[in-house]
Structures are given as C-alpha cells and as structure tokens.
C-alpha cells in the first residue's frame, strides 16, 4: 500500500465526514430540539380531533397542541397540510427484534413449560432489520413478549423502535408475565410426551407454579415481618422463577394469557378468578362467543388472529367480527398484527385495524386499539399512545385517513426525531 501524504489524508477524512453527514443527515434532522408540526389534521386519540392543528415539540416531548401554537425561532417546521397526524402506533404482543428471519426465533425457551424467569429483552437485538421495517407503517413502540410454546413463557416488555441497546429502547421492562394455553404448549411438549400433553395439564402447570409462588411470597412476607419487628431471621434466597409470579399474586404485575379457543379462554378466566390475577387476554379468536364473560371481569383483550394466514385447529372459528362484538359488550380492545404476509403482516398494522372495522368495530375505537388502549393496558399511557402535552413526541404522519388502504405513512418521529421519511417518487 502506498503511503498517503497529509493533504490526501485530510481530503479523504473530509470526504468521509461529508458522506457520513449526507447519508445520516435525516437521522439528525430535528436535533436542534425544537420541532413544530404545522397545519395537520391531528387525531389526538385522547381528545377531539384538531383540523389545521400544530404540535410543538421540545427535547422529545410534546409541549403544546392546538390551532394557536407559535413557531419559536430556529425551530424545525414540518408542514403537515393535508396530512393526518397520529400518535405513533403501538404493536401489541410481538416477538419483533428477537430473531433474524422467520425460523430463527428466540422467544420460546422450550426447555421447560414454565420459564417465568426468562426476560424477553435478553433476546432483543436493537439492530434487527424488522425494527426499521415496523416504523415504515407508523409503529413507534411495541409490547414484546415470549411466544406461545411455553405455558409460562416469561416476562414481557414495552419498547420503542429506537435505540442502540435494549435499555435505551425499553419504556417498561419487565412488564407482566406471558402465559399460553392451547395448541402451542400441548404440541410442543406433547410431541416429547412431557407435561403438558393435554389442556388440563397446561392448567395444572399454571396452578402449581402460582401455588408455589404463593408459598414463596408468604416466606418473604414472614421474613420481612420478623425483620420489621426487630427479630432475628434468615433471609430466604431469591427465586428468579417465583419472583415474577409472586408479583402477579400481589397485583403488582399483569398476567397476559395467549389463548384462542373458548375452552382455553375460559381456563384463563378460571385461573384469573382463582388467583385474583390482573389479566389480559391475547389472541382470543373465539372471544366473541364469551364477550359477556370477559366483559363482566373487566379483562382487556388484544385481538390478534384475523385469519389471513394459515389457520390452526384452535383458530378455525375466528371471525372478523370479533373485535367489534367484544367492544360492543364493553370489553377494552387492542389490536395486533403479526402475520407473515399480506394485510395482516407486522408492517400493515393500520390495515389490520381496518379489517376489524370491516367486521363491525367503529373507526374511532379501531384507531384507539392501536394507540392509546394498548398503552393503557401496558401501563405506559403516561408516556405514549396519544398526542397530549407532556407525552413523548412519538408521531406518525399519514398521507390520508389512516385506516384507508391508500393512505401510507410519510413520516415517523420518535422522541421528536424523524426515524422514517418516505422518499419522493
């Protein structure tokens, strides 16, 4: 290799700097800290829509929303005339970022049917390509969770589609414990002739684990009581599996039950009643058959199987009317999209919500089902899910009415920074 003289070195260095700047410029646009989105049709979700409204963003936080927002000097202005401005969408219960491709997933630790000790964030790759792809459809956050192979899969988390580390991405982690009833565990362990090979086996796995967690909790409490009374006591050791389950028994955490068929849904509710759990149902393909039972317990549902992809035996009776029927019965409904192809795929969350509208859900509830409702379910509504002063500036700008098939996402901001901008044709 020839030696370079100094001027050449400087030239190359400058060229590299310049090219870096040019290619990365869009990422840093808005780093001044103040951004104003002007003159858009703002769907705040939490309040009234604002036609011709503006949003003032400072340091990644929404400061003002309304028709009379002043543009501060030096602020970056994003003209949203004729556009629809929504809070960034929240994808519920997905394993996005936990594997490359569709076969190498890291979300099911199938060495045991109870792996409550697993934390999904330990499987998260912040550089997974699916994370950027998700932002193209306006998704700015996701609830990621273990899959449906284990009865007790482990601990879920809510993350943002931005950041170089799992810690930077996390909004809330761990967040709840993921359970699964039905074909997932039965097929996985049945094939190995291990517990659970039946549905009653699955219920037993949950019941046993929660009973043991209760005993663990009692020991902890007894120790704390003794300590508080100044008595001598030996501290019980930590148990990583029982700890997250004990939090469920104390009402400090949420149990997420993935279940599809009527019998599995009912088992989830039976366990909920028995252990007084704070429960959320995921999937719930036959939820429409039990709408009153679900509503009477105030259990929210994340409706997830829309039947676009291959059906399993347990999802054969799903219906597009599911979300609509549940909502009409008074159930709090969130919508997820995690099929591999077509209108139900991860990158088409608004179209999945549109399918629910086709099935009878009203549009306002459908938009809420992919923004504020899941944020409330996951306990992160203080930060995301609507366009309100004080909330994170996670925003998706659509070319038109967001649930219409011809509307596409044109720009996405997370914490006030543009993370996706569609290229002009």
């Amino acid at each position: 290799m020839k030696k370079l003289n100094n001027s050449k070195k400087v030239f190359i260095f400058c060229s590299i700097l310049l090219s870096l700047f040019l290619t990365q410029a869009w990422i840093f646009a808005g780093d001044s800290g103040t951004v104003v989105i002007t003159n858009g049709y703002i769907v705040t979700v939490s309040g009234q829509d604002i036609d011709g409204g503006s949003i003032l963003i400072e340091d990644g936080i929404i400061r003002e929303v309304g028709r009379d927002v002043q543009v501060p000097e030096g602020a970056e202005v994003i003209d949203a005339s004729g556009k629809w401005v929504l809070p960034g969408l929240l994808q519920s219960s997905t394993d996005i970022g936990t594997g490359e491709g569709y076969t190498d997933r890291n979300s099911d630790e199938t060495s045991s049917p109870n792996t409550a000790e697993m934390q999904i964030t330990d499987a998260l790759n912040p550089f997974d390509k699916d994370i950027k792809k998700a932002t193209i459809s306006g998704i700015t956050s996701a609830m990621i969770s273990p899959g449906r192979r284990n009865v007790i899969g482990g601990q879920a988390a809510v993350i943002k589609m931005r950041g170089k580390t799992a810690e930077a991405m996390a909004i809330k982690s761990p967040m709840g414990v993921k359970f699964s009833l039905g074909e997932g565990p039965k097929d996985t362990y049945g094939a190995k002739k291990q517990l659970p090979t039946t549905r009653m086996g699955e219920a037993y796995v949950v019941r046993k684990a929660l009973v043991e967690a209760g005993e663990y909790l009692a020991k902890q409490k007894a120790y704390e009581k003794k300590k508080a009374a100044g008595e001598e006591a030996e501290a019980p050791g930590r148990n990583l599996s029982k700890e997250p389950l004990a939090a469920l028994l104390e009402g400090k955490s949420t149990a997420f039950f993935e279940c599809y068929r009527v019998d599995d849904i009912m088992t989830a509710m039976r366990l909920t009643d028995e252990f007084k759990l704070k429960t959320v149902l995921i999937g719930c393909a036959e939820g429409y058959k039990l709408a009153d039972e679900i509503a009477s317990r105030n259990i929210p549902v994340i409706v997830g199987a829309f039947g676009i992809g291959p059906r399993r035996m347990e999802t054969q009776h799903l219906s597009l009317e599911n979300a609509g029927i549940l909502a009409k019965a008074g159930v709090k409904v969130a919508i997820k999209s995690d099929e591999v192809y077509g209108v139900g795929s991860l990158s088409e969350l608004p179209l999945t919500a549109a399918l629910a509208v086709k099935g009878g859900l009203d549009k306002v509830t459908a938009v809420r089902a992919i923004t504020l409702t899941p944020a409330e379910i996951f306990g992160v509504a203080d930060r995301i899910g609507s366009i309100e002063p004080g909330k994170d500036a996670d925003i998706a700008i659509f070319s038109g009415e967001p649930l219409h098939y011809m509307s596409v996402v044109e720009r996405v901001l997370i914490d006030g920074k543009t993370v996706f901008e569609s290229r002009e044709e």
Binding site: K129, K132, K133, I136, G307, I308, G309, P310, R311, R312, M313, T315, Q316, V340, Y341, G342, V343, S345, S347, E348, L351, A354, L355, V357, K358, L403, H404, Y405, M406, V408, R423, E425
Partner: protein, 417 residues
C-alpha cells in the same frame, strides 16, 4: 355403510355450498345494469349492463335493453369485475405446515403426480369451508399446484370454484408442470439433491430422460411402418409427463424466491426452451427485472407483496416488475394467505403505487392467459363464461363488501345485507 353415508353427505353438502341453484338456472337470462364495469380487456364502462344467458356473457355495453323474461338485477352504484383468478393456490390440499397432500415426498422428481387426485372439493380442517369462503370474496377460479417439496412436483389444474366434485370443477388439466428450486428435505436424508446444483441436475436429467423416451417412441413409430409386429416401448408415466414439457405442450411454473434460484430457473428455461416460463414468488426478482422482461418470463407475485432492499427500504415488488415491462400475476399461495384475501394481496401493491388496472389484470386476464384459458375467463366480453363479481364499491378497498358472485352464469354467492 357409515363411511358411504358420510361420503354422500359430504358430497351433498359440497353441492349445496357450491351449487345452490339447479342446473336449469344456468339457462335463465340475467340482466345486470347500472354498474361501473371493469371489463379488463375493453376498458371501463360507466353505468353499463351485462346480459347473461346459458352461462355465458351474451351482451355487454352501455346501451343494452333488457330482454323480456330476463331476471333484472339493479346494480346501480356498484362495481363489476371479472371473477377473480388466483394464479397460485394449494386450496383443498390441507393446511400449510400440517399434513398436506401436495408433496409426494418419496422422490424429488414426480412429474407423473396429478394434483386433482389430491384435492378435497370443499376444503379441509382446519378450514373446511375454504372454497366457499374464497367464492364469497370473489375468487371464482384457481390454479391449484403441487407443493414445492419436490424439484418436479407434478401437474397443476385450473379449477372453477363450483361443481361439487373435483372433476366437475376442472376447467383445464393439466395446466402446467410445477417445479421448485431451492433446498429440499432430501438433503437431511443424504439423498439427491443435497445442494442447489443437485436441484438443477434433477430437472436436467428429467429432460434428458424425456428426450430418450421420445427417441424410443419415434423409433417404434418408424419401425411399425415396415414391421407390423413391432413391440411398442413400455409406457412410462414419468417420462410421458415430461414429454409434454419437452414438446412445449405444458407451461412450466417454477417456485423460486432467492436471486440465485431465480437465475437457475431462467437458465433451465433457456436451456430446454420451456414453454411460457413463470416464476412463483420471485421475492428478489426485482433485482433482474430487465432480464426477465427481455426474456418474457412471467412472475407470479406473492404471498409476499412487499420486500425490502439492502438498505431496508420498501420495494413494491409488483410495481417494480410492471414498470420494467414484466408481465405479472398476483397470488395468495393459499393457504399461506387465505384464498379469500386475493383482492387484498393486490390492494397491498396498489397501496404502494401499482396502477389499480394493472393490479386487476394480475388477478384476472393475466393468469387466464398464462394457462391458455383467456378464451373463456379473465375478462368481461361477450362469448366468455359469465364469471363475475359485483362489489359494493372499489374492489381493493378493505371496507368494500362483495354483493354477488356468478360462476357460469349461476349466482353462487349473495350477501344477505
């Protein structure tokens, strides 16, 4: 006895589902008027009318008058398209990922397999009403293919989704020879093909064998002229099937997604002069769209409609190919995407910029042309089969409902609302 009863009731159920009206209904004239008609081959007719008689489109146009005795159907404000054709389907073959009847996994080369011998005429668990559901969303014809577990999977069939038995449903058989590039399950057993070059070799050897078979048949024909006792060569079902490919009587349909597999498919097509080569999926076909256009290779896009380039930017596969001059079909690969979602597959491409008329062609006339059935289906023209769909509005809009579906002039679906 019980089994026979079960079979009879399934057939009866099938004919109820797929054949709700008696056969004489077909002879009755139906006059549909007031709709926006997308003829596909002859432009769009605003406030047009269609006269159906004897299962065919008797007349179509803007200024038709209703003949006496015809059943009147006022479709004012509605949109009519030809019955939709899914160019690549595994409907009635069992659930994908489950125990399917579309891969005869005993040998990597099974051109003698005939897909019609594996199809259940209403669909199977866990989606037992899949044919009916497909019709209810406007799909009237499918091309049913063997799977991609074998290099040469077998012979495909064109089926109309009405009839009750598979034999009644067949519009054309054999329709094409299904092949598949990419790694197969045989490698795990230490059997040929272990590698991608092994896959190509399987096709090459089958073509050479077919040529040898042809030579022996020719030799026999020649010998017969002088020797009436000449013994014909033993029939070979495998070579007989490949002979149709060799003689360019059958189109060739090759499963390939990766660019290396696409290039191999095109290479084999060139080498053996395949008739009407079409590629299934073609996820990376956009990388050589110009080459495919120049060679006249057709791409059947789906079930993945949207792919991403090396910088993770969105690529609208169908649009890039159409822009480059490649003829496309759009498919569901049912049940990878359920059959009834065919129009939404097309809508996904329209959403990101494909011309809606091109998208409509890709699920009507283009597949009809691909399997040589454009004289009967794929567009709304006088003389063609009366297969049509009446939509409540824009066929690609998620919210649009299907109001009515006709196959062979018979109403096979009617929305109660």
């Amino acid at each position: 006895m019980r089994k026979i009863f079960k079979t009879v009731s399934i057939l009866a159920l099938a004919s109820c589902l797929l054949h709700p009206l008696a056969a004489e209904e077909a002879a009755k004239a139906v006059f549909i008027h007031g709709a926006t008609i997308h003829t596909v081959t002859g432009g769009t007719i605003e406030s047009g009318a269609i006269l159906i008689r004897d299962g065919k489109i008797a007349e179509i146009g803007a200024d038709l008058s209703m003949p006496e005795g015809a059943e009147e159907l006022d479709a004012t404000g509605m949109v009519i398209t030809p019955g939709l054709i899914d160019s690549h389907s595994h409907l009635g073959l069992g659930p994908s990922g489950g125990t399917t009847d579309d891969n005869e996994g005993s040998n990597p080369s099974t051109p003698q397999m005939r897909i019609i011998d594996s199809i259940h005429p209403t669909g199977m668990a866990p989606h037992e009403n899949s044919f009916r559901d497909a019709v209810s969303q406007g799909v009237t014809t499918i091309i049913a293919h063997p799977g991609s577990g074998n290099v040469i999977g077998g012979q495909s069939a064109v089926l109309k989704l009405t009839g009750g038995s598979v034999d009644d449903m067949v519009l054309k058989f054999p329709a094409d020879m299904k092949m598949a590039m990419g790694k197969k399950g045989y490698g795990a057993k230490g059997q040929l093909p272990v590698t991608r070059m092994g896959v190509a070799y399987v096709v090459r050897q089958a073509m050479v064998d077919a040529q040898d078979y042809k030579n022996s048949l020719d030799k026999y024909e020649k010998k017969k002229e002088s020797d009436p006792d000449a013994v014909p060569p033993k029939r070979d079902l495998k070579n007989e099937a490949m002979l149709m490919v060799l003689n360019r009587e059958l189109p060739v349909h090759i499963h390939c997604s990766r660019i290396d597999d696409i290039l191999t498919a095109v290479r084999l097509g060139d080498e053996f002069d395949f008739f009407k080569l079409s590629l299934a999926h073609g996820d990376e076909a956009w990388k050589i769209a110009d080459v495919l256009a120049e060679k006249g290779v057709i791409v059947v896009v789906g079930p993945r409609m949207i792919v991403y380039d090396d910088n993770d930017n969105l690529v609208n596969l169908a649009k890039v190919l159409v822009d480059a001059g490649v003829e496309i079909n759009i498919m569901t690969d049912a049940d990878v995407v359920q059959q009834e979602y065919l129009r939404y597959q097309a809508a996904t491409s329209v959403r990101y910029g494909l011309d809606p008329q091109e998208a409509l062609k890709a699920i009507t006339i283009n597949p009809a042309k691909l399997i040589g059935a454009e004289d009967r289906i794929g567009s709304l023209e006088a003389g063609k089969d009366a297969d049509l769909v009446i939509f409540g509005g824009d066929p690609f809009d998620i919210q649009t409902k299907v109001c009515r579906v006709f196959i062979n002039g018979i109403s096979v679906f009617e929305n109660e609302q």
